[in-house]
């Protein structure tokens, strides 16, 4: 029965021509299937947690699960993200078989893993591979929020490091979408050193003059903020995403310090010089294509792009 849960997923993709139209305000019928059935709540309607507007679930999907009233970005799965982002049939997944070990025999970890795998329908907290955006090839990694909040253990670190190393071999740019609570407690020191592993791999990528774009999505914290998420040549965030090193609850507990309203949002981080661009999910595809195009091999100054 588990076989069914972990079968190769077909990625629903969108015709690139339709998405290229940046001024398109009206959601298209073709985009209706961007979110897998699994993450649809049972009801037809969903209430926006930000503005309270009751939204028709189908409309929400059509808009990339961005509230049509207040532009609140609902969290989406890695699959949903891929479907919104990359050219049809262009995604090739890597290391999908990489699986977790309870290396420390940590209390309750096996149960937690099994539960996360059943609930999310994926094996671990990141999906990696290569794909194209508007025809431009790149290497992509996307954290899976639905899997133990995208926390980084051995598998997440290894998959990201391998993806970066393959990008160097293939001479491709890398785009990583972070959604993570940080390093995964249950793998102890091994999780902690995944921060060093992924950062070191990005060092090699940089040395090879290859582009790395880090896209921060809600939430990105802890060991992920303190490693690959902060090392982008260009750092992008979705609007209003919560981003930081220490979570607000911990700051409150340990420092007895109440954070001001709006602290740790994407906008706060941008104001403090930590983020280049804030890009709405609905605009992410053309924006990434635009940035990637600047960095294509042979796109040096003076040559025709």
């Amino acid at each position: 029965m588990f076989k069914d849960i972990f079968r190769k997923t077909k990625y629903v993709t969108i015709n690139s021509n339709q998405k290229q139209n940046r001024s398109s305000e009206v959601p298209r019928q073709e985009e209706a299937a961007i979110v897998s059935k699994k993450e649809l709540p049972d009801g037809l309607w969903v209430k926006c947690p930000k503005c309270g507007e009751v939204l028709f679930n189908k409309n929400l999907d059509e808009n990339g699960r961005v509230c049509t009233t207040c532009e609140h970005h609902f969290r989406i799965s890695a699959q949903g993200r891929l479907a919104l982002l990359v050219d049809e049939n262009s995604f090739e997944e890597w290391d999908s078989e990489l699986n977790t070990m309870d290396s420390l025999e940590f209390p309750g970890y096996e149960e937690k893993l099994l539960e996360a795998q059943q609930k999310s329908g994926v094996l671990e907290g990141v999906v990696t591979g290569r794909a194209r955006i508007e025809g431009i090839p790149f290497v992509v990694a996307i954290n899976e929020a639905g899997f133990m909040m995208g926390s980084m253990g051995s598998v997440v670190g290894e998959k990201i490091a391998r993806a970066i190393e393959r990008a160097i071999e293939l001479r491709l740019p890398v785009v990583i979408f972070s959604t993570s609570g940080g390093a995964r407690m249950q793998e102890g020191i091994l999780s902690l050193y995944q921060m060093a592993k992924t950062s070191a791999a990005l060092g090699k990528l940089a040395e090879n003059h290859l582009l790395y774009i880090s896209v921060l999505t809600d939430p990105t914290f802890g060991g992920v903020t303190a490693s690959y998420a902060s090392l982008g040549d260009i750092i992008i965030s979705e609007p209003n995403a919560l981003i930081g090193f220490t979570g607000p609850r911990i700051i409150k507990q340990t420092m007895r310090q109440e954070l001001p309203t709006g602290a740790q949002t994407a906008e706060f981080n941008q104001e403090h010089g930590l983020i280049d661009l804030i890009v709405a999910r609905t605009q992410m595809r053309p924006e990434l294509a635009r940035l990637l195009r600047y960095h294509q091999e042979g796109a040096e100054y003076g040559s025709t792009i």
Binding site: F2, N99, T100, M101, P107, E111, I189, Q194, I251, L274
Partner: protein, 328 residues
């Protein structure tokens, strides 16, 4: 009176009885040397028993001992000449990270260390050893100079974690730590890191990307503080003892997991019982590895460090679910 832990009380009681016997014997002129002898042997055995089988939580207590030697205690004993250099050139000088240049066995080295205070006043100055972004940026500045001038880098880890206040967030704590990891992974000089006390999470790791990781016998190095782990797991910070065991963060655990390279012995009961002895042990082990690393080429140093990081982690290459426990 030195800070005494619960598990040390049986030893203290015996020692107290010995001194009472000795006093009684001297006062009354009665020979009690045989009784004293027996008790002293008993104390030795008890110490061996207790200190030889310390539980992870007991090691945590020793690593956090108020008199545990910090970097400033070791510096004059390890180095012939330590010149402290300050500031990140961007914002401020962070007092929870010290750094500079020094002579180690006659070799010029760059030193960067986290420093906790010994009393409340010093702890406030040093933010309890919790560095802010400017501390990490100072570390990078100094380590970059080591790379520039071909000096080996010695780092000393001793922090409960990176600073976790609003200022740290505003100035990019995550970015500062990430930059440390990136910078250290790229150096062509030997990097030796030693955990001398507490190795708390990402804030500690920022100085721990190295060719060789050494750990003092009673130090620990963890992804999360045992108290926070207990709070997440069991919603109960008093279960820190159980969390300490689950996290597998002692020097022995890290050796077994392929993260640490060698354990540096401490005097019985912990480094605070004999600073000079601990410094001698540290000096000897660091020197042994430094001699070895200095014979390697810059490229090899860098690549072996990368490969060391690449190997850390455990996973399987099979999507099959074959966990030993099953959900109901």
């Amino acid at each position: 009176m030195a800070q005494l832990f619960e598990f040390e009380k049986p030893i203290a009681e015996l020692e107290h009885r010995i001194s009472e016997l000795q006093k009684f014997s001297a006062d009354k002129g009665i020979d009690l040397s045989q009784e004293v002898d027996t008790l002293e042997k008993k104390v030795l055995l008890l110490k061996k028993e207790i200190y030889g089988n310390l539980e992870p939580w007991q090691k945590v207590q020793i690593a956090r001992h108020s008199e545990r030697p910090n970097f400033y205690d070791y510096a004059p004993l390890l180095f012939e000449d330590f010149i402290e250099l300050k500031g990140d050139r961007l914002f401020a000088d962070d007092h929870s990270i010290a750094g500079g240049i020094a002579l180690f066995h006659g070799v010029p080295v760059t030193v960067v260390a986290q420093v906790k205070g010994k009393d409340t006043k010093e702890n406030i100055k040093r933010n309890f050893g919790m560095p802010h972004p400017e501390g990490y940026r100072k570390a990078i500045r100094l380590m970059d100079q080591a790379e520039k001038f071909g000096r080996p880098i010695l780092t000393f880890i001793d922090t409960p974690g990176a600073a976790c206040d609003l200022g740290a967030e505003e100035r990019g704590q995550g970015e500062a730590i990430a930059r440390c990891l990136l910078a250290m992974s790229g150096y062509h000089v030997p990097v030796i890191s030693t955990v001398i006390g507490e190795g708390g999470s990402g804030g500690a790791l920022a100085l721990g990307v190295c060719n060789v990781l050494l750990m003092l016998e009673n130090s620990f190095y963890s992804v999360i503080a045992p108290e926070s782990c207990a709070s997440i797991l069991w919603k109960d910070t008093t279960k820190a003892k159980e969390a300490a065991a689950a996290l597998k963060f002692t020097a022995k655990d890290l050796l077994r997991l392929g993260v640490a390279d060698e354990l540096v012995r401490e005097p019985q009961g912990g480094a605070h019982n004999n600073l000079h002895q601990t410094a001698d042990e540290l000096s000897e082990v660091i020197s042994k590895y430094l001699v070895r690393l200095r014979s390697e080429s810059p490229e090899v140093l860098r690549e072996t460090r990368y490969q060391k990081l690449r190997k850390i982690g455990m996973f399987r290459e099979s999507a099959e679910i074959n966990l030993t426990k099953k959900l109901d």
